[in-house]
Amino acid sequence: MKTINQEEVQKYIDQFANEPVYIHLETTNGAYAKHFDKTAHNVGAYIRNAQIKYERGKIIKSDDFDTYRVGLKTGGWVYAEGLTDYEFNDEGQLLLAGHDQQGRLMVALQISPKPFRM
């Protein structure tokens, strides 16, 4: 993956608009958050291979950091923040992820024309 290029990513987001796509959406602070910090608790959610269709999608740069937010307008909304890196892979999938200083994944939003591998 490489650092997000806003225009590039916007182009890919536009490309998937108004057609059925599969998404992977995830956020986590890790399975050991509480193990290392008693006051923390483990938080995570993910959805893989939900099919959606969005009429408009947008990537926006945050004001203070080099992170990005993405919103996809469906009948409802799909939203992710803290995104830092992207890749458009050989399978035609747009992968967006937010990594911390140690390179650990904290959030991911991925869009694919076909189901993600299980």
Partner: protein, 229 residues
């Protein structure tokens, strides 16, 4: 301990790297004594957060990368490998009975005289606890006269308060070079830990610092008839 008294050791954990961090020294001791060891690895750690440091994997490439790392580590440890094909973070939502049935079949077919797994619910990660619970159930499902020994790994911080001193403590110093090699085979997962270790104030060299942290592997001996439930 006389490692050669065992005929076959079966390791049951959910993630690639569980075996190397927690049990590889013990595995190496069994292998040196000529005892075959088989790892039943539940998942490919598909949902892992560590992507390498600096990161080189992504959510979609991670499974293949971790699969190769697992194969490499098992080669270092000279251990057989069976990948069970469950998915990271979801083991607890599968049918425990079904998993236990599969595990039991492996244990019986391999003629295991010792099974090593996680100690539920003292193993922190939900997959660890679910895999351990299924392994306990599998062993319990074998008629007492054919039952293998069962050792379990607890990793909660206050394990000694809750469970008492571990029954078995293995000193891995004599095989530690290989243990470190097995850990490093899990490049995507180990790099973060190793670089954190290098930056810590008490760092005294990679081998020495790793030895300080990972020299001893400890297990609780489980009698499945004594478990409540």
């Amino acid at each position: 301990m006389d490692y050669s008294q065992h005929k076959h050791v079966v390791i049951i954990y959910p993630h690639p790297d569980d075996e190397s961090f927690g049990t590889s020294g013990t595995i190496l001791n069994f292998r040196e004594a000529g005892v075959p060891v088989t790892y039943l690895c539940g998942t490919l750690g598909e949902m892992g957060r560590n992507m390498g440091s600096p990161f080189f994997a992504n959510r979609e490439t991670l499974p293949e990368i971790r699969k190769q790392e697992l194969i490499d580590a098992c080669n270092v440890l000279d251990m057989n490998l069976e990948m069970l094909g469950y998915r990271d973070k979801t083991v607890e939502f599968e049918s425990r009975d079904d998993i236990a049935q599969r595990l039991k079949q492996f244990i019986v077919d391999l003629g295991a005289t010792l099974v090593i797994t996680f100690y539920p619910p003292y193993a922190v990660h939900p997959d660890h606890n679910a895999m351990g619970a299924a392994a306990f159930e599998a062993v319990k499902g074998i008629e007492p006269e054919n039952r293998p020994e069962l050792w379990a790994t607890a990793i909660i911080n206050n394990r000694n308060e809750v469970l008492g001193e571990p029954d078995i403590v293995v000193d891995t110093e004599s095989v530690f070079e290989k243990k470190l090699e097995a850990i490093k085979a899990h490049r995507s997962q180990a790099e973060g830990m190793l670089s954190k270790m290098r930056e810590s104030s008490d760092f005294i060299g990679e081998y020495e610092s790793a030895l300080q942290r990972l020299q001893f592997e400890s297990f609780y001996r489980i009698d499945v008839d004594e478990l409540d439930e």
